[in-house]
Assembly symmetry: D2
Homo-oligomer: 454 residues x 4
């Protein structure tokens, strides 16, 4: 029986970028803000901690940024957009860091070329960490000492900076995964990572399709807590009836795709995808397979942040390009959902008892769900980002934020596809039903998978 | 006052690819079909007639196909999909033509590489024309002699072949324009082409924005006559209120964009667009300007199928990439319409008396509208294809046709943008409100322009 | 017994580019010059005659020039260097041809980019032929009517122009061979070409090494007739004793190289050569083999100007890159000769009775020698250009000619290797012991082979 | 008056790769060998000492190798060619290092791709230093404990390993120079480096040309001490009379070249060189100038291992490509010497009292000579490698050493040019008159300059 999707019209569809309810008029509010800043900032450093200065230095493909660069860039964001303009007497840590650690903000000025970030041995990691201290101290003072009426309107900007840093935390992990996979020695990011214990290791939930009724519904940020500008305005959409798989596509299903000749059957692929296959695809080791898979002695293994492991057929497949996701869906006689379908389903139902496999779960790899059997949807949040059939485009009535931070999302709205739901590398509090991630169709270095729709 | 858009729910949203009402049971129907085949086929040859065998030979960039190749490929389509399978005793003209003139149908087998079409001196043009005769004769016989109950279900396929040939007629013209522009001698395609006389040559309709009410409407093919599969199924969409410019952006407005520093202002551009500008854009002569513009002695001139002409500031701007169209719209404090907005507006209103500037008008270049002043929308059809903000994606419930012809549209549904409305090179009867054209955002060798929305 | 190489010191080592003994003071001399001009010019057109305007249009790789372009460029040379400056009242045929048909003379001005020569549908072939008439007529008049004391010093320049045209005659053939091989239909250049009849078709002379004494010798142009500036000055060289194979390496020996794993054995190759192999080499059809070889049903066949033929194991191997030639020599436990060794051997001895297989022989393909057994060197001239171990460099005391014609040879003196001896496509009178041809080591679209030395 | 060049025929022209007179039969000989090993090995580490692990990690262009990689690779050489095969019980430090630190020895097996050396964060520098300890200790024991009759024939191989390490010492410095120049912060390699004090800082020796008589002479390794195989066999050459400049071309002369339009005058350049200029040349910062020059506020400055400095017009120009060197020589109405001319001149005469500016001088940059005025040739050794007109080719009778070490030199003998004389970064004892260095004509990241000949 189709589940009803509650039709809601948002009272205030077109909100700004960040409206968190943090009352900075009282000391508790300031303390909460300070604590949140501290928690996010410390997490970045703890993610970098297992890595040597050398590991944090390199860039193994254009899409990858060095760990060190991530650590500095997120600090540059606070320095450039918050401290520099608003903190009286703030001294810029180094006059050239603005050039070196600007990512893509044309409004801020020229910057170091992205593909050459890996060349930056200077500043060394030690200086980057001092830079972080400098910015942390200034942020602390700023939050503690600024008058409430000055601080209040800046809270959204600070929270944006925190969310920005969280995005880079996930990138830091996927980037370093590529770095480590590029080593002939294939080291693990951390030696204490293990595949999920406790859950039946080889049993994914049996594939089932959940039905949803069509009609007019609202998607987009619903006004509770922070969101990015690209999630706004909330707006009504029409959908037909649809069904969605109760779990992401598994590694075992991708093995079936391979063994069924999926990579050799042109008619399963989009034209661009087939051209990508014929150019060699993106497998790390030149094998015709998902990015981090490697076949040895007849068995598939997979490079993970815990090093090479035997492929778990029951775990969600990850590191798939859009081209692969689309072809696999077609092979499985299904399609990718639109982002509206995905969001509606996510808002309505989630498998009870399922603790999402996000960064905080500590697995750093997709896994079978930990909860018991359910009639609902498993793993909508966490495990793998799910490619949708929707191109990344502005919502009706979208307006980018004013000023340089307005370059954050809008200028990427062409040629990319939306992904939904977060992954095993998504930081706490950084995922929600309306969250829109986006990558080019050939990219697969994220924890990107798919869920079938029909 | 907003114009009401009639909300219509199509009774039969999901039709097949081609359902033209051509009754082949009687002789009149057969004659009509034969006449239509003859008209389309003859037009292709008349478009090629002003060109030498050498002109018809070359390929000046990967996107361009030689004229000769177009002439053969459209014949191959009939041979491969109609005559070969269904005409008893049909003899394939040459066993290798299937390899040489297949464009991209993976289901048919391997084929000559697209970027090497210009190398094909063999078969010579004379053989290609004989090939056309061979196919024409076989089609004639097939239409005249096949039993009605056999022929009837094949009519949609034949009509698809005709529409396919019409698409190549437009490509033939835009491709040869690139070839001619590549000649240091800058020859005209035809010497008898002139800019529109009669119309006030320097007076575009004054820019005005027409309002449309929001609500639930239906877009997509409405069941009258032929359509491509990508126009189906007709389906309901929601739109907010919107306004649409009464005419396309003019050359004069693009000059203002250039003089206002448009090509040097990063914040006007999508990130991919700005990277495209920094790599040099796509201007034919290395100038920072639309593709076929060239500045000489301080004045802009434009390469047309009639050779170089002074730029007409009142004519619609053409040969713009999506990146340019998007940046120009932003510069003019507007945006591009979605394809739903465009289609709704097109269905509702069109400037009275305006004879659309399509191929049949004989100008082969965008021009100011010929009709008098109007409160409606000028030039929705003809003149320039209008880039929309919509990525090319399947309509809800879309299904590609079965078999190899199903590779026609669906496999291109990623990374491209929809254009609407046809151009001065679109053949008679080959444009309608629901027609969806699509190109990559960097491409500008089509007659592609834009219309502002707000 | 080593053959003595006659040590000769040239009396006049440093001559100019062209000093042919054509006495233009009397009518006979003028007539001879006119006849020679006519013969060379007519030969170019007769070489183009089997080709359609379409065949003459295209450029299938950067190294290839269209036939039509060759026909025009050699005419441009006469127009630019002879008629324009010296023929009173000469009218340039077309003001833009100087831009279109300049190959690389920086001293003359800007020019059409080499890789885009194939785009030039205009001027059409008919105009190029009219251009040739125009230049021919002007040359005729110039030779007939110019005062002897004016004409005499210009004879070397005219003769240079003729030799230049002869070089392009050979290029015309090797270029069109690439064009024809690029056709999926694999047409022949002429249908009346046959492999050599009369000679025992499968019997190459048995491989033998002829010994030469070392010592001080003179190489370089010896003052009889025309030579290019790069053959001067004649100068003394020292050589050790050496031996040279009595014939070029045969196809059969290259088959042995392939079957012996030659293309898979890194240590046989120069480092650049191995990198070239790993990138895929230069085979026309993606096979690991010489450029025009293709294996079908277990047997090798070779594309020739007469179309595909079974590989003749006894004929000299051709279309080898320097990398291949060097590796094959190493596989055969030999080396390539230096250009000095080659020239000394060539001056001393040539198999008696051997009619060289040059263009005039009409085979247009390397073949077993026509003469009987011999103790000397077969095929030093004709059949295949022989790669030497010598980099293309100026001879001691070399001076390029003054003015733009000085760009003819000297500016290419880096990164290329010298080839000696002419080929089956070399026009009559255009080869001699001192002739130095040169190509980049990866290039193989010429009739290039090798002769072993030890 | 021409200086006579003593004609010498070497008694033993064709020696092996390394025959140093180190008597290992007695303890003194063993101690000397051990000391030499220790000195070379320690120098490598002291050169790396000013650099952080991050600095030693990166690869800023394909030609550059990371410092860390150099340190490991030279150790791998000893492990692979000496310790592994000959030291009983030697344990390979790590089984994958053979894959990671093989440079190009096909005979040894597959290896990590050169352009991806910068990705190798693992092993970390600390492990590489432990690797060096491991190899050092094993070498120490091997030299101390191996029986003399076993050790004696291996001495040449050990000495080859030391010379190999010295080559990498120079590369280490030129590579790290590129790394540091790539930093937006432009750090110095060492802060204590200064331009030469004491010498008149702005006074190069006045340009003069020294004459040499022609005749038959011998070049090549003369049998005293170590040489590489490519310096053998010594052999006779013929030269004409020639003159050689008494010093290298200076920065001031290159400024004159620039101001005289040298980079804009096609006729000064080889065709490949001009194409290189038109593609943008190799300047580090996109300026039309030698690689490390940058113009600021109207004055030239130069990036050195001591950071940016004002350009010294009297110092030898360095970091020139062959294309630049050739064009500059032509601009100065001279030419580059052949390697034979260079070697003959070097053997005959050297400015008295001139202490060569090699690595040991500690300047790490070319400088005016320290000695007083002289009638002889300044700076033949040290300061800058001097491009010669000679392509890198085997000497007559050259044979590469047997086995994998035979891949050392011979397989690069195509498309490169010979440089002579060492530079300010050449280690002690690692330069001699017969030494042949070689690079591709476009490369300029070495201390490469030129000396004029006529």
């Amino acid at each position: 029986m189709p589940l009803p999707v509650r039709p809601v019209r948002s009272a205030a569809p077109g909100r700004g970028m960040a409206e968190p309810a943090i009352p900075v008029e009282d000391d508790g509010g300031r303390a909460a803000l300070g604590a949140r800043i501290g928690a996010v900032r410390r997490l970045s450093e703890s993610l970098a901690a297992p890595l040597s200065a050398e590991d944090q230095q390199v860039q193994t493909m254009d899409d990858v940024s060095p760990t060190k660069w991530h650590l500095a860039h997120v600090s540059w964001f606070f320095e450039t957009f918050v401290l520099g303009p608003y903190a009286p007497g703030y001294e810029v840590f180094h006059p050239r860091y603005g050039y070196i650690f600007n990512s893509y903000y044309e409004g801020i000025g020229p910057r170091h070329e992205r593909p050459r970030r890996g060349a930056l041995t200077r500043p060394p990691l030690a200086d980057v960490l001092r830079y972080r201290r400098h910015v942390d101290d200034a942020l602390d003072r700023f939050v503690a000492e600024t008058a409430a009426d000055v601080l209040r309107p800046l809270v959204p900007l600070i929270v944006l900076g925190l969310n920005h840093e969280q995005q880079h935390q996930e990138l830091l992990l996927t980037d370093i995964k590529h770095v480590l996979a590029s080593q002939p020695l294939h080291p693990a990011y951390r030696d204490d990572l293990t595949a999920r214990a406790g859950a039946a290791p080889d049993l994914a939930p049996q594939l089932a399709f959940v039905e949803f009724m069509g009609g007019e519904h609202v998607i987009g940020a619903d006004g509770d807590g922070f969101c990015f500008d690209n999630e706004t305005p909330a707006h009504a959409v029409l959908t037909d009836e649809f069904t969605l798989a109760n779990r992401p596509v598994t590694n075992g299903e991708v093995v079936a795709f391979i063994e069924g000749g999926g990579y050799a059957t042109a008619t399963l692929w989009l034209a661009d995808g087939w051209a990508w296959v014929e150019r060699g695809g993106a497998n790390m080791w030149g094998e015709t397979a998902p990015m981090y898979w490697s076949r040895r002695d007849g068995a598939w293994r997979e490079f993970t942040l815990g090093g090479f492991r035997p492929l778990d057929p029951a775990a969600p497949a990850s590191h798939l390009s859009y081209y692969e996701a689309d072809a696999i869906a077609r092979f499985l006689e299904a399609r990718l959902p639109t982002e509206a379908e995905w969001e509606l389903a996510c808002r309505l139902t989630h498998a009870p008892g399922a603790e999402p496999n996000l960064l905080a779960a500590g697995l750093l790899h997709p896994a079978v769900p930990s909860g018991g059997p359910s009639r609902g949807l498993y793993q909508m949040l966490g495990d793998v980002w799910e490619w949708t059939a929707s191109a990344y485009a502005p919502y009706p009535g979208f307006r980018a934020a004013a000023g340089a931070v307005g370059e954050y999302n809008g200028k990427f709205m062409v040629s990319q596809q939306v992904l939904r739901g977060g992954s095993c590398a998504t930081p706490p509090g950084h995922i929600r039903a309306s969250y829109r991630n986006f990558f080019y169709p050939h990219q697969s270095w994220q924890f990107s998978g798919l869920r079938l729709a029909r």
